[in-house]
Symmetry: D2
């Protein structure tokens, strides 16, 4: 079994690897033990956000030097999930997960994680059943990799998934295949939605039979309470990170999760902290990071009041939603260096989303 440690590293720009380099130089992070990196980068988090692939490219180059590997080989052994968009008080940073053999179980359940990758998707598979199926299989593989025995011990599943570009749409059509949408921004929602249904199938929250192509982005009753999906231009497959607990794990960290009922559900943030025994301001420095999803409620209202996010043609709704939930989480957790990702389709209830906190035990 695993001993997992987690480092949150501030970044000065999307390409900044100096914080990681310093921890490696200090011997606190051993590059060969890195399993996953989740980052928040400065871009718009939408289609033309190149800060995600910029960050990934700089990380694979940096780690490739330490590991003696080509960048492509690095990307095949470490799960990189860069989420664009640091609207409002969100602060760019990277969360580095390292894993080594367990030192002997602590007796209590402790943090563990595993990763998996799907095959590359064809453009016309994105947002449809093929992506659901492959993701479900990859989640189960990542759970096995983590040593997470049952869905009860699974607290957060992060997926990085592809999006459609004009080029990819044209390529599909040239082969006579019509993608799920011709709108590149909307394709992000489809990809996140199908990936999240894949997670829900793996956890047993949703039966596979319900996951038809038509259900994606339509049947909001289908959802996972531990799913978090981010789409990006920089890949054509899904990357899966399964985060949970195991009594065999020897980490000094623990994780808990809950569900925000809407984008301003501060009470859910407090409940999640409380589940880890964090009660007041004095306990906040035990938090390693908060991970959550945000979206503009698809019915156009938050607690009965009309919002304007869905009709805003200057700022996409995912950007608004990150600003909102990032601010709410920051107001409870103490600051904005947290992982809040936009677009919560089939991730928690419509308008809300899952939240997880990793903290020192």
């Amino acid at each position: 079994m695993h001993h997992v440690d987690v480092f949150r590293i501030p970044c000065r720009s999307p390409g900044d690897t100096s914080g990681l380099e310093a921890l490696v130089a200090a011997g606190r992070i051993v590059p060969s033990e890195i399993v996953a990196v989740m980052g928040k980068t400065e871009g718009n988090g939408c289609v033309n956000d190149y800060t995600r692939e910029y960050a990934t490219n700089m990380l694979t180059a940096c780690l490739g030097r330490h590991l003696g590997l080509a960048p492509e080989a690095v990307a095949q052994r470490i799960a990189f999930v860069m989420s664009g968009g640091t609207e409002g008080v969100l602060s760019p940073h990277q969360t580095v997960f390292v894993r080594r053999p367990a030192r002997g179980a602590s007796g209590a359940k402790r943090l563990t994680l595993g990763i998996a990758f799907t095959r590359d998707f064809r453009p016309e598979e994105i947002g449809r059943r093929a992506q659901i199926d492959e993701t479900a299989a990859a989640v189960q593989q990542a759970m096995r990799d983590a040593g997470i025995a049952s869905p009860e011990d699974l607290h957060f599943v992060q997926v990085k998934c592809p999006l459609l570009t004009a080029d990819r749409i044209a390529a599909a059509r040239a082969r006579g295949c019509e993608p799920v949408t011709a709108d590149t921004y909307e394709s992000m929602a489809y990809s996140r939605g199908a990936s999240s249904l894949g997670i829900a199938v793996a956890t047993g929250e949703v039966p596979l039979a319900a996951c038809t192509d038509d259900a994606v982005l339509h049947d909001w009753r289908l959802a996972s309470s531990v799913a978090s999906a981010s789409a990006g231009i920089e890949l054509m497959h899904n990357v899966v990170i399964a985060i949970g607990m195991s009594a065999q794990a020897s980490s000094e960290l623990v994780v808990a999760h809950d569900v925000m009922a809407d984008a301003i559900d501060a009470e859910a943030v407090r409940r999640t902290l409380a589940a880890l025994g964090l009660q007041g301001a004095q306990d906040l420095d035990r938090i390693v990071n908060v991970f959550c999803k945000a979206e503009a409620s698809p019915d156009g209202q938050v607690r009965g009041m009309r919002h304007t996010m869905l009709g805003d043609s200057d700022i996409h709704s995912t950007r608004h939603a990150r600003a909102v939930t990032g601010a709410v989480v920051a107001s409870v957790a103490g600051h904005g260096m947290v992982y809040v990702s936009g677009g919560a389709e089939h991730q928690g209830p419509a308008g809300g989303g899952p939240i997880a906190v990793i903290a020192r035990a």
Copy 2:
């Protein structure tokens, strides 16, 4: 003395006056008693936000019909303050203040308000001492109009102030006068800043001698804890609304204020509610409205973590700030139909801003 009542009316679009019309038709609002209207509209809240003047024009036309006055005459007797920008969960609405003779004082201090207008400014006066001086005088006039005896009873001063456009800059230069800035967006900050220093002079929080041209947007130690200023393209003078309490007033409403130390200071929101005796979820429906200011901290950090709002060339920082503080206030007050305005220069501490709550006693 006055009896003041306050109505919060949802709007379906910036030009929607149907809610106001319905309250007039029902006899709940008497048009001749309306003293001020403060609105949140759907625009970007920046230079090219025409939703503010659209809302004002529809209101003056609507009330002009009821009052038998030309729209221009309506704008001279009622203070209209439209604040653009409903980012995140903020919900478009109007707050209508009506005033009639007091029915006999209640014994306790109750809500009152007064209004005043400055003369029109020349473009080169905006953001400079002339605007400070005229605003200070107008605030004192509005306090007298309200029957607010001393600054201790003053809880919120709302100013609507002009901004520079390319036309206005060119007109000043044609006369040989250089405006304070040639950047139209930045002129909004200068206008809000000088107006807020005028408020601070009127309340005695800042000595007049400190308010040099150079101090505007530079000496952040100079600030008012009750100032709220919004700039707009639709006027060339300042409109002032003074909101406070008086033992001679007979309103069934009360007001309290506090200062948010930063954009995510949920504790200040709770303190303000507590000052009015509002303690838990069951008391939230006594809130009539919350009024507060938001800004991106000018030092580039919130609680020690870097934010990216000041370097974002896609979304102006005032838009980010409204999304953040609107979400934090909504997470405490229960929903987003609140008045959160962006750009808090010299309004509370750098990065924070004043907050006021009007509630049923």
Copy 3:
């Protein structure tokens, strides 16, 4: 038959009617003779562009005063088509079409125009066959109103059509009907597309049988070379303006049209001017206005080079396209006070669009 005159009036803001008022005061425009107004306003031209309804509301109020009519009655007798978005060098203005009985035909074909309105659409009808059918009928009615005998004499058909909002989508779903899309920005394209197919049916360019629901935004071979459609939030029906020529008309103006093959087809602009006998710089002041459509080529390329407009999540592609074609037209016609509207689905070839010029004979 008709005698038509056309006035191009600069606007200082979306609500500015002073230019129109001045022409009325000078006796040059008789309000009761106004048939149509086409405007370019400062907004984003997308979903949350309230400058269109602001301009329309100020015009109906202004003309209502002159005509002794309620604003709603004005909107029923005059066709108002406000097109948002003055990106780049485009300059906000209004084109006012007035019509009185012909003074006796000139012998040569001269400008004429007619208008018509469809019924209100239900949200689920937008972008589908019902909108195509109703538009086709309205175009034929507008041609009869204009006295345009055959499609050969029809040079430009302007349609203003509705879009979907979160409210409208929710209303349709509450009745069990699914709109053509849940993406409000995309609904503008569907509405423009179906309206343009309606025009193509009316002109005989496309057989009605080809206009299935599935053809809208998919079969780009179906198009009209005289169609121009703009979507807006301010209406639920289609407004149609048919512009053409008649030997019975007595106008001093003429109109010609052509088709831009792509967004930078300056040669098509020159051809259209040449068709009216306008050859060099000295003839440009005979132009009354240029009307054309612009779009980002849906295949992601312009003349073989990749463009980035379709993947830009900060600036919608219709905004880019207006900036491009507006600049190209201005570089030929001499300045940017021209009517360039974005979104040319089924209006000319994919990536291009119709262009028409009205000039003094």
Copy 4:
């Protein structure tokens, strides 16, 4: 003397070096002969545009592998100028300049170029006299490096210059120094302006004595007709590329330049092509690339018509200007894979800018 060759390479993303790699693999480009790379990248071209440093980092890594050098060493021997913003029809690409010893002069003047670097600037030097002085010296050094004997043979000077960020402003203030502006977007204009005045001093177009701090961005009579400056977040010094002609050079290429009087001056584009003997459509494939600058006219008008670019708080004026001039150049030169850079302060007349064309002789 030099033999210079120039390659225009399409890019699929800001980090795409595959086109360059292919030319190296084919032996057409020898990495050690590369002197400069000028690129157009997909970003917003404003403060938070990381596509510029992303492209530069990928290029230095790529060339470092070929040259056996660290990326930092590559950046010290090759001038990289990445210009963000491909609005409208502009197409992302890189122009690679290679230089080897002349094969013997052709007899006629042919293309040559040279480069130079200034020292790093302190934040408070940006936009002020120190930047002017250092740039002027570097331009003269680059001319010597190019073998350009006199300013008459100098046709285009490209400068890449730094901008202010919140961090850099704070650092200056911590040392008691006030930068020229606290607005990060505006700092780009100051940096371009001072750099361009430095070019004007080097060419003799402007006397050094006129270049006071106050003249920058104020005295628009001071300008260079060959200056092109782009600001970026990725450096703190100025990079200078001097492009001109020499009778000693043996290139098969030639260069000419002219000045666009305003953003839609298609005639200037045609004049520049004509100066190289390019007359009609059949000659366009002799063009290697077009280089020009664009800006929104600071007086708010283009050819007497009001534009809205300076008051647009959703899209910065440099973005509008690139879309406009890119479209006009593309309409003449045949497509949008050209180098059009925004912000033409002191670069040609107010509202216009220099244009240069490199073509096969």
